[in-house]
């Protein structure tokens, strides 16, 4: 697809203003019905957790095990994606409810909230898809962009990706360690502090899921242990699936540092749009994905309550049409197919031509030019 060669600085500034207006309209409208929505999600998550864990106590009966594991998986998915990720983005701070406060919320994930907020809210959302700055591009172990150097280990990346998927919450937990910087501009001492924090968090989940709840079941601990492990695994696989569809489908653009220096607000919005991709589906699907199926809207407005992305999306699509921009969306099968293709393609050394920044300075001249 390439970066848009028909937009001038003035166009992009106007694009930014239109998006600001959409954001303001929603944020000024937040009220009781929004609060009711998140409270219902919280209730659903907590009821399914209690019911799931209770059913697993009778998990030696296969139907109880299946239902219990299913409900517990649902509760972990809802808690991580629709609740945790969104609460930590500050989407619900406006309610002044201590249970939904981004500065104190701790989620059911081995990654400490503090480190998540640094690597995700700050690094990923500010430097989205800028290859050497956004560490979500490959998580330091996968090659997801032509602009990343190819190394022989990338040949194994289909396997690496599958392993990462199965243990995704642990990958997320270790993400903010930035191991590639160790010995260079990050000291081992700093990493040790973080590791202690990570272990402090992970230990609580391990204790809860793999020791305490099984112990409560006495001699019938095995189904509880298996159910809890499976629920964590299901959450890992589902979140990997949804998250990788957000930035690694076909037609998603990557950027380099030089073209994003001195970015204006409009250009930031544009990079967020071009670097993200959506998933189409039913409302329950959207909720289960934490509304990350609206990755574009989420990247444009990270602190907007997630269920509002649904009403904002048609307006974004309309703006994209008018500005001649690609609105990257599709069903899960197609989008994830694109992700798989990318993982496979990047496992081999490969480069393609990209549209680059022009050196024009006038606000009416195009910002990007076709690759020569």
């Amino acid at each position: 697809m390439g970066k848009p060669t028909h937009l001038s600085k003035a166009d992009i500034a106007e694009f930014g203003r239109e998006l600001d207006a959409i954001r303001d309209e929603v944020m000024n409208d937040l009220g009781e019905s929004d609060a009711r929505y998140i409270r219902n999600v919280l209730k659903t998550q907590r009821y399914s957790e209690v019911a799931g864990r209770a059913l697993l106590m009778a998990g030696f009966l296969p139907p109880a095990w299946l239902a219990g594991t299913g409900l517990l998986s649902l509760s972990k998915i809802l808690e991580n994606m629709e609740i945790g990720h969104n609460v930590m983005h500050g989407q619900w701070d406006w309610m002044n409810d201590p249970a939904l406060d981004s500065s104190t919320y701790e989620w059911d994930n081995t990654c400490p909230a503090h480190q998540w907020k640094h690597s995700h809210n700050y690094m990923h959302h500010t430097f989205t898809n800028i290859v050497d700055l956004d560490r979500d591009v490959g998580y330091g172990i996968l090659r997801m962009s032509e602009d990343q150097d190819w190394r022989p280990q990338h040949l194994a990346q289909p396997l690496t990706a599958a392993t990462l998927a199965a243990f995704f919450q642990w990958g997320v937990a270790l993400h903010d360690l930035e191991v590639e910087r160790l010995g260079k501009d990050k000291t081992f001492k700093e990493a040790a502090v973080q590791l202690r924090e990570i272990w402090g968090k992970a230990r609580k989940q391990v204790l809860k899921d793999y020791l305490l709840f099984p112990a409560l079941a006495g001699p019938m601990f095995a189904p509880v242990l298996a159910g809890n492990f499976s629920a964590n695994l299901n959450r890992n696989l589902w979140s990997f699936l949804i998250i990788f569809c957000g930035h690694f489908t076909d037609e998603v653009e990557m950027f380099d540092e030089s073209e994003t220096a001195d970015e204006t607000r409009g250009e930031w919005y544009l990079r967020q749009l071009l670097g993200s991709s959506n998933l189409s589906g039913s409302v329950p699907f959207h909720i289960l994905s934490g509304h990350l199926s609206y990755q574009i809207e989420h990247h444009l407005f990270p602190d907007m309550p997630s269920h509002r992305y649904r009403e904002v999306a048609p307006k974004i699509q309309e703006i994209c049409e008018r500005y001649g921009l690609n609105y990257n969306t599709g069903p899960l099968s197609k989008q994830f197919g694109g992700v798989v293709k990318r993982i496979l393609r990047m496992s081999l050394p490969h480069r393609r031509k990209r549209n680059t920044l022009t050196s024009e300075t006038s606000t009416d001249a195009p910002v990007y030019a076709e690759a020569a």
Binding site: E32, R36, W94, M95, N96, A99, W107, H118, T126
Partner: protein, 353 residues
């Protein structure tokens, strides 16, 4: 909640089962008033004594530790999805089982107007531990003066009800200023108390019906033996500013005061003094965003993207007038978290940094 259940639910074992949520998060599935440690209450009775007030009777949960006469409590109510907290004096005596508060319309105040118009039975309210030292004593004095105006009657009623409950009304003069009798809360209750207790003399002055405002002459006429009376004083800022020197000139006995709101200084838009409360540092608000002002003053607040996206720089503002640099809109905030990087002072601001 039975103590043994509370102890079990508060144990570290149960806490580990609930981790990383709290046990309270699960208790709220059963009843929103349940909590292991937070005081909360439910409104059991609503009375509108006057068109501009509402009296609430609140049944607290077992985390409420009680109160002393004249103390106040921070009441939290949810209005249109948002929790707001406001301070109200507890009118009930400590010996009463329910907490009674009376709320008067405070201009356009969102919370007071909402409660006066829409408070209803069954509503959940968040409470705080009672605070204040309006009545630090164990025993009533031999003689006393209770002096109040408008909604300032609330903490003073609490002291009086306390004395009546313990039969300690020896010689009490209660002077109250209101616009008219119809505007006066607790008018009927006070009249009944005065009839029943010889030791209590109640003087009400209705300023809209010709009653004279408080001055030397009226005070001497109403309370000739003020010199022997410790005083409990509460009312709007103007009333208290007028009353205090009059009392101080006449009596060496203790003056106990309860003030509801500090008077806000009016400043022109764009000017602003920013006070960083925790660091005891002040700076001019004109040099840029609150984040830049803090850094210029030598403080090191958390920050991230510095463009309003990641919320790393969020900080509590105790009170102040801030401008959102993205929309240029100004708003008054109180006890609210805001992002320092995209707000600037539009008037005086007190930041908890």
């Amino acid at each position: 909640m039975k103590p043994v259940v509370k102890k079990l639910l508060g144990s570290s074992f149960v806490g580990a089962l609930a981790s990383p949520l709290s046990v309270d998060d699960y208790l709220s599935l059963i009843d929103s008033r349940l909590s292991l440690s937070e005081p909360r209450g439910r409104v059991t009775h609503v009375v509108r004594q006057t068109p501009d007030s509402v009296t609430l009777e609140i049944e607290p949960n077992d985390n409420w530790q009680g109160h002393r006469p004249g103390q106040h409590v921070l009441l939290g109510v949810v209005l249109d999805g948002v929790r707001h907290s406001r301070c109200f004096s507890v009118v009930s005596a400590p010996s009463e089982p329910m907490i009674e508060v009376t709320i008067k319309r405070n201009g356009d105040g969102r919370v007071s107007n909402f409660l006066v118009d829409h408070a209803e039975r069954g509503q959940l309210v968040h409470l705080s531990p009672a605070e204040g030292d309006f009545y630090p004593h164990a025993e009533a004095p031999r003689k006393a003066l209770l002096l109040s105006a408008g909604s300032g009657i609330t903490p003073v009623m609490s002291v009086l009800r306390h004395w009546i409950a313990r039969d300690e009304v020896a010689d009490v003069v209660f002077v109250h200023y209101a616009r008219t009798r119809d505007d006066m809360i607790y008018a009927a209750e006070l009249e009944a108390m005065a009839r029943r207790h010889d030791g209590l003399r109640v003087e009400t002055v209705f300023t809209a019906d010709g009653g004279r405002r408080l001055d030397d002459a009226t005070l001497d006429a109403l309370v000739p033996d003020l010199a022997q009376r410790p005083t409990w004083l509460c009312g709007p800022a103007g009333f208290m500013d007028a009353a205090e020197p009059l009392i101080a000139a006449r009596s060496n006995e203790t003056l106990h005061r309860e003030q509801f709101a500090a008077t806000r200084r009016e400043t022109a838009h764009g000017e602003g003094a920013v006070r960083f409360l925790n660091s005891d540092v002040a700076a001019s608000g004109e040099s840029g965003s609150l984040l830049e002002v803090a850094e210029g003053a030598g403080l090191k607040p958390n920050y991230g993207c510095r463009m309003g996206i990641c919320h790393a720089c969020k900080c509590r503002v105790a009170e102040g007038s801030v401008r959102d640099l993205r929309t240029n809109r100004v708003r008054d905030v109180r006890d609210t978290d805001i992002q320092l990087c995209i707000h600037a002072a539009a008037g005086d601001v007190a930041v908890e940094l």
